[in-house]
C-alpha cells in the first residue's frame, strides 16, 4: 500500500534528520548556481567529512537571489540552536562555516532573517523551496508530498476533487486569472476516452522567474498537481512545455518524473489504483507566443507556434484535437496543498475575488531582488518598500507588472491591493508575477519602446494588425524618444494602439499596446516633453541623455 510506503519513507527521513545536529542547506537553483554555489556545496561537503553530526545538502531557491550564493544552517544543539543564513558565500568560506557549527555564526557572512523580507511572506507554492533537496523524492514525501494525490485517487471521486478546487477559489496564475475550478469542470464534462493535461512552463515574460524557481526547487509539487488534475478531468497523459532556456529545470523535472514513476505515484496504476498518468516533457525553442495556449499546442504538435482563433477553446478542441486542460506551473503547484488542506482553508487566504497567495519576482531598482510569495491583497507599497526593501538609490517612480502585456503603475498608486481586479483597473494586469521596479532614471517612453520592440520581434506574424502594427508603433516610439516626433505622430500611435488591441488574433497582439497606453495614462508629460511641438510653451524636445540615446539606438 502506498500509504505505508509513504510512512516508511517519512520515518526514514526523520530518523536521518534526527541523527544530525546540524543541517547545512546550499541553494543550488539557477540564480545561485550562476555565482558558483555548486563549488560552495562541494567545499562544504568535503569540509564536513570530519565533522560528525552534520548533513550538507543542495536545496532550491531561498528567495533572496541577488545575495547569492545563499547558505542556511539549522542547528539543534550548541550555543546557537536555531537557524542562521549566510549570503555571498564562496567556497573559501566553507571552513569558517563548518568551524562555527554549534558556536557563534560567521558574522561577516550573516544575513539578517528577522526582516520583513522573510517575515512577511506566506508560503504555499514556495513552502518547500530552499528546504528540500529537489532531486530526492523522499524529502518531498517527508513533507507530506504526494499526500494530496493519494487522497484524491483513493478517497475522492473526480467530482469531489473539482469541488474542492472550485471551493478554493483558485484562479489561473498564468496571467488571465480564469477560475481554475471552472476550467477543470469544462474539461471533465467533455466526452471521449482521450484527454490531455498540459502544464504551461513557457514563462515568457522577460524578467520573471517564478515558474523556473518552482520547477528547479520543488518539481514534484508540479507533477503532483498535474496528476491530481488528470484524475479530476479524466486525462491519462500530461505534457509539460518548458522554456528551452531552462536546462536545469528540465533536468530536475526529468529526475523527478523518473523517481515518481519508480515509486508508483506516476505512470501506470497511480498509487496502486486503476488510474494511469504519464508525464512527458516538451521543450520550447525560444518563442514568447508559445505561451499562448493554442500556439503552445501547435508547438507540442511539432509545428510553428502560431495561435488560432478561439472558440473552440482547448477544453473542447486541444492537443491533437482532444479536450485539453492547460494550466500554469504555479496554478498546478497550488493544487496539492488545496487537496490536502481543503478548499475552504485556501479560500480563507487572500481577498474576496482573488484567493490564496501569489508568487512575485522582484527585479529592477530594488534592494531585495528575488522571489517572494504573499497573500493576495497585500499592497504594492508593502511589497516594494517593506519586503523589497525599497529602491537603493533615487526615488521609486513606478512598478511594471505583467511584462509585455501589462502596464506601469506610478508610485502614487502604491496603496492599491494586489489582486486581479485592482491591477486591471489601474490599466495593468497581474500577469504571471514579474514586478520590475523603476526609479527616476528610467524614461517611461523608453520602457514603452522596450516592450514594443519585444512584441514586434515576438509577433508570430500570422495576423496583420500585430505583425505590421507593432512595427509602426515601435518606429513611432523611437521617433518620440529621439525627440523627432510631433503631436500628430502621437495621435497616430494612439490610433494604432486601438487597432492592434481590438483586431489582433491572440493575446500577444491584443495586449501589446498596454505598456504604451498605461505610460500614456500616467506619464503623458514625458511623451509631451519629447515632442518637437509638444511643450505648451513651444520649447520643443527636451534633450535625453545623449549617451544613453546613442547606446540604445
Amino acid at each position: 500500500m502506498m500509504i505505508e510506503r509513504f510512512e516508511e519513507i517519512t520515518t526514514e527521513e526523520q530518523t536521518a534528520v534526527a541523527e544530525h545536529d546540524h543541517t547545512v542547506k546550499v541553494c543550488v537553483a539557477a540564480g545561485c548556481l550562476s555565482s558558483q554555489s555548486d563549488q560552495v556545496l562541494d567545499a562544504l561537503k568535503n569540509g564536513v567529512g570530519e565533522h560528525r553530526g552534520c548533513h550538507v545538502k543542495g536545496v532550491g531557491c531561498m528567495g533572496l537571489c541577488s545575495q547569492g550564493p545563499l547558505v542556511a544552517v539549522e542547528s539543534k544543539t550548541g550555543a546557537k540552536s536555531g537557524s542562521v543564513m549566510y549570503q555571498n558565500v564562496k567556497a573559501e568560506d566553507a571552513p569558517d562555516i563548518i568551524q562555527s557549527l554549534g558556536k557563534k555564526p560567521v558574522a561577516r557572512l550573516e544575513l539578517k532573517t528577522n526582516v520583513p523580507f522573510f517575515q512577511r511572506q506566506t508560503k504555499i507554492v514556495l513552502e518547500n523551496c530552499g528546504e528540500i533537496d529537489p532531486e530526492r523524492i523522499e524529502e518531498y514525501i517527508a513533507v507530506e508530498g504526494y499526500q494530496g494525490l493519494l487522497t484524491a485517487v483513493t478517497e475522492l471521486s473526480p467530482i469531489e476533487v473539482i469541488d474542492e478546487i472550485v471551493r478554493s477559489g483558485l484562479r489561473g496564475r498564468g496571467g488571465g486569472g480564469y477560475p481554475t475550478g471552472l476550467k477543470w469542470t469544462t474539461v471533465a464534462k467533455m466526452d471521449g476516452p482521450t484527454k490531455y493535461v498540459i502544464c504551461n512552463a513557457d514563462e515568457g515574460d522577460p524578467g520573471a522567474f517564478m515558474d523556473r524557481s518552482v520547477l528547479e526547487s520543488d518539481p514534484h509539487r508540479v507533477l503532483e498537481g498535474m496528476a491530481i488534475a488528470g484524475y479530476a478531468v479524466g486525462a491519462t497523459e500530461g505534457y509539460i512545455y518548458v522554456r528551452g532556456e531552462y536546462p536545469l529545470a528540465v533536468e530536475r523535472l526529468k529526475i523527478a518524473i523518473r523517481q515518481a514513476n519508480r515509486l508508483g505515484v506516476l505512470g501506470s496504476k497511480v498509487c496502486g489504483t486503476t488510474f494511469d498518468f504519464n508525464v512527458h516533457i516538451r521543450l520550447g525553442a525560444g518563442a514568447f507566443v508559445c505561451g499562448e495556449e493554442t500556439a503552445l499546442i501547435a508547438s507540442i504538435e511539432g509545428k510553428r507556434g502560431t495561435p488560432r482563433p478561439r472558440p473552440p477553446y482547448p477544453a473542447e478542441y486541444g492537443l491533437w484535437g482532444k479536450p485539453t486542460l492547460i494550466n500554469n506551473v504555479e496554478t498546478f503547484a497550488n493544487v496539492p496543498a488545496i487537496v490536502r488542506k481543503g478548499g475552504a482553508w485556501y479560500a480563507g487566504i487572500g481577498t474576496e475575488k482573488s484567493k490564496g497567495t501569489k508568487v512575485f519576482a522582484l527585479a529592477g531598482s530594488i534592494q531585495n531582488t528575488g522571489l517572494i510569495e504573499v497573500p493576495m491583497g497585500m499592497s504594492l507599497r508593502e511589497i516594494i518598500f517593506e519586503i523589497g526593501g525599497g529602491v537603493p538609490n533615487g526615488n521609486c517612480k513606478a512598478v511594471q507588472t505583467g511584462g509585455p502585456s501589462g502596464g506601469c503603475i506610478p508610485a502614487d498608486y502604491f496603496d492599491t491591493p494586489v489582486d486581479y481586479e485592482s491591477l486591471k483597473a489601474l490599466g495593468s494586469i497581474m500577469g504571471s508575477g514579474g514586478m520590475i521596479i523603476m526609479d527616476d532614471s528610467s524614461s517611461m517612453v523608453d520602457v514603452a519602446r522596450y516592450f514594443m520592440e519585444f512584441c514586434m520581434t515576438e509577433s508570430c506574424g500570422k495576423c496583420v494588425p500585430c505583425r505590421v502594427g507593432t512595427v509602426h508603433m515601435h518606429t513611432l516610439l523611437n521617433k518620440i524618444y529621439k525627440g523627432e516626433a510631433r503631436r500628430h505622430d502621437l495621435e497616430t500611435l494612439e490610433k494604432l494602439c486601438d487597432l492592434v488591441m481590438n483586431t489582433s488574433l491572440c493575446g500577444l497582439g491584443q495586449t501589446a499596446p498596454n505598456p504604451v497606453l498605461s505610460t500614456l495614462r500616467y506619464f503623458r508629460h514625458e511623451y509631451m516633453d519629447l515632442l518637437v511641438d509638444g511643450a505648451e510653451d513651444g520649447r520643443g524636445a527636451t534633450a535625453v541623455d545623449a549617451q544613453l540615446l546613442e547606446a540604445q539606438s
Binding site: P309, P465, R467, V468, N502
Partner: protein, 239 residues
C-alpha cells in the same frame, strides 16, 4: 477542425435582419447566403480557414471583442453587426497596414484591376495610406518556368500555402521566419524553379489575391485569376 453538420437550425440577427442558420455555420457563410457583404482576404471557399487578415471582423452585441466572421460559428440569439463606423475604420487601418508592409505599386502590377486588395480598398472607399511604407527589400523569384513570385506584393494570406498542401498535396510552398520577417518559401527556401516537389499545377497562382503570384509573360493589368474550381475540388476530396 472539421465538425459534423447537424440538422439543428438556429436563428440570429445580422445587421438587424433575422436569419436562420445551420448549427456550426460561420457568420461569414451565413452572411454570404443572405447577400450581406463582409470583406475577406485570407478566406477562400474550398480552403481551410486561416483567420489571419482580420479584415472580416464583426461586432457581436453584448461583447466588447471583435470576431473574425470567417471563423466564428453562428450561435442562437446572436446579434451581429457587420458594417458599423468603427468596423469601417478598423478595416481601413488593416488595409493601411497591408499596403505599408510591402511595396504595392498598382499601376505597374500585372494584376492591376484584378487584385482583391485593390478591389477591397476601392469598395470600402479608402483613399490614402496613413502610415509610412516600410519599404522592405524583398525579392522577385522568376526562376520558375511559368510563374513569378513577387514578394513585394505578398500580403501573407497563405492561400497559396494552403492550396499547395491541402489541394495539390505538394507542400512546396511554406512560410519561414516570424513577425514582419515572415516570408513565403519553396521547400528549404530554395528557388522556386529548382523545386523537386512543385508540380507546376499553377493552383497557387490562381488563388493568390494579389500580384504576388502571376504567370510569366503578362503585362500590367493582364493577369486574371481563375478560382471557380476550388469548392468543387474540395467537395470531391471529402466524398
Amino acid at each position: 477542425m472539421k465538425r459534423q453538420t447537424q440538422a439543428r437550425i438556429i436563428t440570429l440577427k445580422i445587421d438587424g435582419v433575422d436569419v436562420a442558420a445551420r448549427e456550426h455555420e460561420t457568420i461569414l457563410e451565413l452572411a454570404q447566403e443572405n447577400n450581406i457583404f463582409i470583406p475577406t482576404l485570407c478566406h477562400l471557399d474550398g480552403l481551410s480557414e486561416y483567420g489571419g487578415c482580420r479584415i472580416c471582423v464583426v461586432e457581436v452585441k453584448g461583447s466588447n471583442r471583435l470576431f473574425p466572421a470567417c471563423m466564428t460559428p453562428a450561435t442562437e440569439g446572436m446579434e451581429v453587426i457587420t458594417n458599423s463606423e468603427r468596423l469601417r475604420l478598423y478595416r481601413f487601418s488593416i488595409l493601411d497596414m497591408l499596403f505599408s508592409e510591402r511595396n504595392h505599386v498598382c499601376s505597374v502590377c500585372v494584376s492591376n484591376g484584378h487584385c482583391d486588395l485593390q478591389y477591397l480598398s476601392a469598395k470600402l472607399g479608402m483613399t490614402r495610406v496613413e502610415v509610412p511604407y516600410l519599404n522592405p527589400k524583398v525579392d522577385v523569384d522568376a526562376s520558375h518556368e511559368h510563374f513569378i513570385m513577387d514578394h513585394n506584393r505578398c500580403i501573407l494570406c497563405q492561400r497559396c500555402v494552403r492550396v499547395c498542401g491541402e489541394i495539390e498535396g505538394a507542400f512546396t510552398k511554406g512560410v519561414m521566419g516570424r513577425g514582419v520577417n515572415t516570408r513565403i518559401i519553396h521547400d528549404l527556401n530554395g528557388a522556386w524553379g529548382d523545386s523537386d516537389t512543385c508540380t507546376s499545377c499553377g493552383k497557387c497562382v490562381n488563388v493568390c489575391p494579389t500580384g504576388a503570384l502571376v504567370e510569366k509573360g503578362k503585362s500590367a493589368g493582364e493577369m486574371v485569376k481563375r478560382r471557380d474550381w476550388l469548392p468543387y475540388l474540395r467537395l470531391m476530396q471529402e466524398d
